[in-house]
Amino acid sequence: MPDLTKTEETEPVKAPVAEGAPVPPADPAVGKPRSLWSDAWSDLRRSPMFIISSAMILLLLVIAAFPGWFTSLSPRDSDMALYLQKPQFGAFFSPEWLGYDGQGYSVYTRLIHGARNSILIGVSVTVLVTFVGGLLGMLAGYFGGWVDTVISRITDVFLGLPFLLGAMVILVSFETRAVYVIVLALAVLGWTLVARVMRGSVITVKQADYVMAAKALGASTTRILFRHVLPNAVTPVIVVATIALGGYISAEATLSFLGIGLAPPAVSWGVDINTAKDLLRNAPHVLLWPGLMLSFTILAFIMFGEAVRNALDPKLR
C-alpha cells in the first residue's frame, strides 16, 4: 500500500480547497509580476529591427534638437563662390562634405538644420491626430448609436477629401506658411485614420466580459472608458500612429516641394528638394542628399512601427 498520508508537504497558505497550486516556489508559471507591456518590452529589446530603427530615430532627434553639435554653420550662411561645388567625401562632417547648392549653401548644413522642421511637423501631427482621432474614435465606438453615426459620417467626409486638394485649400486660406499651419493642415486631413482604427478597436474591446464585469460592479462610464477600454484598445492606434509619422514627414516634403508647404526662408528637406529640382542635370548631389535623408527618416519610423506592432501583437507574426 502506498503511503497516503505523505502527500503534500509544501503548503504555506492554508488553502481550504483541494488545489495545491498556490505554492510560490512550486509554481513557476506565476513568477514575477509581468504586465503585457513589460512582456512587449522584453520582446522589443531583442528585436534587431527595433534596435536599428530606434538608434536611427534617436540620432534624428539629437540632430533636430542640437544641430549646432553637428555643424558650425547656419543654414543661411551663403557663399556664392562655392556655387554647386561637388561633394568632397574625404571631409567628413565639414560644410563642404556634401557639396554646395545653387545658393551657395552647404548641403550638409542644410541637411542637419532641415531635420528639425521635419521631425517637429511629424511628431506634432502625430500627437494631435492621435489625441483628436483617438478621442473621437473612442466615443464613436463606445457609445454607438447616433454618436457613432455623426462621428462616422464626419470621418467619411474628411476621408473623402483628396489629400493634395484638401491640403492646398487649407494652406491657401492661411496667409503664413509657418510650421503650425502645416501641422494643422496635415492633422485635419489625418485624424480620420486614427479615428477609424480606434473605433474598430473599441468596438471589439467593449464587448469583452471584463467591461461587462465593471458595469456589473457599478463603475462609471469614465472609469470604464479609461481603466478598461482605452488601455486595451490603444495598441493598434500606437502602431498606426508610429507608422503614419513617417508618412507625415513625407507629406510635409511633398507639400513643400509643390511650393504650398514651407517656403524658402524656412529650412526643410522638402524646400531643398524643390530648389534642387531645376539643377538636377548639372548638380544631382543637391537633390540626392535631402532625398536620401528623407527616405532614411521615413524608413526609420516605419521600421519602428513594425517592430512595435510585432511586440504588441505577436499573433500577427
Binding site: M1, P2, D3, L4, T7, E8, V17, A18, E19, G20, A21, A26, P28, A29
Partner: protein
C-alpha cells in the same frame, strides 16, 4: 526525458484484420514545438492503434497532446514551429512520415479524413455547401460539376440534412450548428475513407443535438466499417461510443483499456481521479472529489511522472523516474487484454 515506452509487449486489444497489420498504428511518436521560451515537448512517445470498425477514444485535457497527435497523423501540423523528431505513423503498415508528399496526399482525405470541433470555421463562408461537398468529387474523382452536385445532395441526404435538394446551394452560415457538423461529417465521408479522426466533434453542440450527431457518426461507422479515432475530454461521450480508450496526460499515454474495463477499474490515479470527480447522485451535498493542483505547463513538465505533483500516491520514485506503460494484469498474473498503465503503482491503483 529519455524513456522508451514498451508497448510492443502489450497484447493488442483486438486481433487485427486478416493481414495482421492494424489500419492505423502510431509508434513511439514524438512531437516538439520550438518557441521563444525553448523547446516544448508536446508529445513524448505515444503509441496507439485502431482497426477497421473500431472506435478508439483519446481522452485528455487541454495541453495533453491529444489533438497534436491527430494533427501529426493528418499531416496538418504547423512545421515549423512543430517538429517530429522520431516515431512512426503506419497506415496499413506503411510509414506516412517517410512517404513522399504526393503519396501522403493520396491517403489524406481519401483514406483518412478529419472532423473538427468548430464546423463554422472549417467551412469556407463564401462558397456554397454543395460546392464544397462537390469539390471532393471534382478534385479527387474528376466528376463534372453536375455530377458532383448530385453526389453532394446524396451525401447531404445520407447525413440526414432535411430538404437536401433545396439547401444544397445554401452557405455555411445559413445552417445551424448541428447541421454544419453534419456537413463536416458528409465532407469527411465523401470519399469513403477507412479512418475518421474526430477532434471534439460535439463539444460545441447542445446536448440534444450532440446525441443526434454521435448517433449518426456511430451508424455511418458501422455501415462503412470505418475506424474512428474520437478525441474528446468528455467522459460521458467516451462511455457511450468507444471500444477502447487511451488516456493522455502531458504528452504521454498514461492508460489504455477497453471501455468497460476502464470505467470499472481504472489502473492509473489520473483516470481514477477523473472518474471520481464526476458529480454522482450519492454524493450530492458533500464535496466533490477533486484532483488537486493544475494541469502542467508543457514548457515545464514535472520531472519523473508528470502527474506526480497532483497524485495522492506519489512516492520518491515518481519524482525521478518516468513510468513506462506497464501491461496490467489481474492479481493472479492473468493478462488483461489491451490494458496498460503508466504508473509505478498501477497494482495498488487497480487492485486497491
Amino acid at each position: 526525458m529519455t524513456t522508451t515506452q514498451k508497448t510492443a509487449d502489450l497484447p493488442a486489444a483486438k486481433s487485427a484484420d486478416s493481414a495482421g497489420t492494424p489500419l492505423l498504428q502510431v509508434k513511439d511518436l514524438h512531437v516538439e514545438f520550438h518557441t521563444r521560451d525553448g523547446v516544448v515537448k508536446a508529445i513524448n512517445g505515444v503509441n496507439y492503434s485502431v482497426d477497421s470498425g473500431e472506435t478508439l477514444a483519446v481522452l485528455g485535457e487541454s495541453g495533453s497532446g491529444k489533438s497534436v497527435t491527430a494533427q501529426a497523423i493528418m499531416g496538418i501540423l504547423d512545421m515549423p514551429p512543430g517538429r517530429i523528431p522520431s516515431g512512426e505513423i503506419l497506415y496499413r503498415g506503411q510509414d506516412m512520415l517517410t512517404m513522399s508528399g504526393e503519396e501522403r496526399r493520396k491517403i489524406r482525405g481519401r483514406k483518412i479524413a478529419m472532423i473538427f470541433q468548430d464546423a463554422l470555421s472549417s467551412l469556407n463562408p463564401v462558397l456554397s455547401v454543395g460546392y464544397q461537398l462537390g469539390e471532393m468529387f471534382r478534385v479527387h474523382q474528376g466528376l463534372s460539376k453536375k455530377d458532383a452536385k448530385a453526389k453532394a445532395i446524396e451525401l447531404m441526404d445520407r447525413v440526414r440534412i432535411p430538404a437536401a435538394k433545396e439547401r444544397v446551394n445554401d452557405y455555411p452560415h445559413q445552417f445551424s450548428g448541428g447541421m454544419r457538423q453534419r456537413i463536416m461529417i458528409a465532407m469527411a465521408l465523401a470519399l469513403e475513407p477507412d479512418l475518421i479522426i474526430a477532434d471534439e466533434p460535439t463539444t460545441a453542440l447542445d446536448v440534444t443535438v450532440q446525441a443526434q450527431v454521435m448517433d449518426l457518426l456511430a451508424e455511418l461507422q458501422r455501415e462503412y466499417n470505418m475506424g474512428l479515432i474520437l478525441i474528446t475530454h468528455d467522459l460521458g461521450v467516451v462511455a457511450d461510443v468507444a471500444d477502447k480508450i487511451a488516456v493522455m496526460y502531458a504528452g504521454r499515454i498514461v492508460e489504455t483499456a477497453p471501455v468497460h474495463e476502464l470505467y470499472k477499474r481504472p489502473a492509473h490515479p489520473y483516470t481514477k481521479g477523473l472518474l471520481d470527480s464526476i458529480p454522482r447522485l450519492d454524493h450530492k451535498g458533500s464535496e466533490l472529489y477533486a484532483i488537486k493542483g493544475l494541469p502542467p505547463n508543457m514548457a515545464r513538465v514535472p520531472a519523473g511522472c508528470a502527474f506526480n505533483p497532483r497524485c495522492d500516491r506519489a512516492q520518491d520514485i515518481c519524482r525521478t523516474e518516468v513510468p513506462a506503460l506497464h501491461p496490467v494484469t489481474e492479481q493472479d498474473g492473468t493478462t488483461l487484454v489491451g490494458r496498460g498503465s503508466a504508473c509505478h503503482f498501477w497494482k495498488e491503483t487497480i487492485h486497491g
